[in-house]
Chain length 396, copies 2
């Protein structure tokens, strides 16, 4: 009997987990050894993280135990941190071991892109994991408690969100919803709290439908969010952020949502990358190593107009499905298929009962869009975990 081919999947984000779930359905017994490697023993739902970050939802609702999603008889799970990828040697170095592979799937997710803005890395929070959003939530609550001890420190009640893309907008919406609760809990006057959303581009949600963007900004402005558009953050210091001609906005809480780049390990491993993202071939493979598939935030693909697709959960999931298909096809000597992104729609939450969305060419706003967002969330839970997961983690 010849050796069973080994597939190693790095990362259990949207791309990695979908690859694993599809593989365990498609592969026959002994067709391949599949190992999924992830830093945590849970998958998290990145598109939910703005809620536990603001404290409007429990972080438990944004994560799922990986062993509930995969069948351990079919897929091995290794909880470890990837340290280095060695594509020439077909090896992956983990914090506590080494794995060899015939096929590699890189779904290691993104990292915050700070565009070289000084101090952002050191002094700003990022919405990127369960750990990071628990930190943000606790930090925010702590500021309210500290303000009661030092009532002259208005900066404790000033919250700056850098970036008005989807994450930034969805987070300020939740934060604005949370503030009245926090004010009540800590006996703080709501008018003392300031939320700034600062964006270098001339509009919020750049590229999104302008009518919906305007609607969204009106909703958020009513909730108390102050927008500073066309305003670049020049520097982030422990005291706050510097904008314009050196104006300092004092704040003890800066959350940076302004950019995502690919994982640094790809460039370190010799992959050609732009901001850490590898331009993959139509089959989702590295042009340098055709046994390496790259998905999600680590991959770079261009739409028919020649513009890069933004890194979203939606595209990563579709890539995962395509990747699993192509891995099976490779094993069986069949034809690989080309990835075609099918845009299902985009909905941005604006907090409780409010959202804006484009589904096909249909514009949605208000409660209808909010329900659509919830449906998309439930659909995702259904895709990865079936009805059991929908009942366990789903919320309407």
């Amino acid at each position: 009997m010849s050796r069973v081919p080994r597939i190693v999947i790095l990362g259990a984000g949207y791309g990695g987990i979908l690859t694993a779930i599809r593989l365990q359905k498609e592969l026959n017994y002994n067709e391949a050894d599949v190992t999924l490697v992830n830093k945590h023993d849970y998958h998290y739902i990145t598109t939910h993280l703005h809620m536990p970050a603001a404290g409007t939802d429990n972080p438990e609702n944004a994560r799922v135990n990986i062993l509930k999603l995969i069948d351990e008889f079919k897929i091995d799970f290794v909880k470890s941190t990837v340290v280095q990828i060695k594509p020439q040697e077909r090896k992956v170095i983990l914090e506590d071991g080494t794995l060899s592979y015939d096929y590699l799937v890189v779904g290691l997710g993104g990292e915050p892109e700070t565009f070289g803005i000084p101090g952002l890395k050191e002094n700003a929070f990022n919405i990127r994991s369960i750990n990071s959003v628990r930190l943000i939530r606790e930090h925010i609550e702590y500021q309210f408690a500290k303000f009661k001890r030092e009532p002259h420190r208005k900066d404790y009640l000033t919250f700056i969100v850098g970036g008005a893309g989807f994450t930034g907008i969805e987070f300020v919406a939740e934060l604005a919803d949370r503030v009245p609760e926090l004010c009540k809990e800590f006996d703080v006057s709501p008018e003392l709290v300031k939320i700034y959303n600062i964006e270098a581009a001339p509009s919020a949600l750049p590229g999104f439908d302008p009518e919906l963007v305007q609607y969204g900004m009106d909703v958020l402005a009513k909730k108390g969010v102050e927008f500073k558009l066309g305003t670049a953050i020049k520097e982030c210091t422990p005291e706050g952020v510097v904008i314009g001609e050196g104006e300092l906005i004092k704040s003890a809480t800066v959350i940076w949502t302004g950019g995502i780049r690919g994982n640094h390990m790809l460039e370190e491993a010799g992959f050609e990358a732009m901001r850490g993202r590898v331009k993959v071939d139509p089959n989702l493979r590295s042009p340098q190593f055709e046994n390496v598939y790259i998905l999600g935030d680590c991959s770079l693909m261009f739409n028919p107009d020649g513009r890069p697709y933004p890194p979203t959960a939606q595209i990563a999931m579709q890539q995962g499905e395509c990747c699993a298909h192509n891995l099976v096809a490779s094993l069986r000597g069949e034809q690989l298929k080309e990835f075609k992104f099918s845009m299902k729609g985009t909905v941005a939450s604006l907090g409780k009962g409010e959202a804006i969305g484009l589904v096909g060419t249909k514009k949605m706003k208000g409660y209808t869009a909010y329900l659509m967002k919830k449906l998309i969330d439930l659909r995702y839970l259904y895709i990865i975990g079936g009805i059991t997961l929908v009942l366990k983690k789903g919320k309407l």
Copy 2:
């Protein structure tokens, strides 16, 4: 018609609120104008504060709106901070005004006594108010979140409580109960968390029944509390505490419960005081100004053996009742009565389902003592707010 005498009560703690409640029952229409002054619009139940400080109970259960306790037709309430007492001029200076009085009741409560230990004032938390315990709770939770970002910082998970008196013991018990919950919430291994209770005296709960103290320490040790008795804190730094021959215990959280002194304003006003506490006459009045009554942590009284009574809620409440009686007697030209402390008993909580207590000469421990503690708590709610308050805030 001659002028109606004015009574001003400073502080709505145990002594002040009891004085106010009794006065509004006893005084006839137009017999006196009574004004209660307090920093907050709520009274808080100091003996509960160890629970919200550890996060095992909601701070709302430890406070009661003052306007639910007093009858505004009979007593004026002023929410303000006292800045200065001028006993010669019979005036009190508030942050935003001035009050004149014929009779003054000082129930301003205590302040942490740090015995000159360097850095304790700057770097340690105190369990002394709703604001301070919310700060402690948020600080503790934040340390768990920060540890997940910086797993080498073991000091984030080390908690030092200075003082093993009633507050110290009750707080470490709650904290030990909370730790497993926090570990679960933040994915932290419980064995990484350290709780130290450091006491300069050779035993915990100095003066309390040794058998019960031993029982209590055993219960707490089983919950993971490490005692360091006969150990003085030499210094408190931002990095932790220094004990013994310069040994530094690294900790990001030091909570000082080791001492209480009277309010600093009494000495500033010219009252003779020891550690801020004024030795009152048998009628609870200042020997220097017989129209000034001093209650609770601000007063100093000696038991028949010549030892000072420890400042407790129990004695402050009884003083409040006696003070109200004597104020009415003064107004009516009747004989004042001497204060006699009636020791009802002492129960120290050891967390969920556990306590130790002495009621009369009866020793109690375990669940019986725990129930007794809850009964004492309910009795207090009944005394100040009747059955309505028991139903609203009471918990068994």
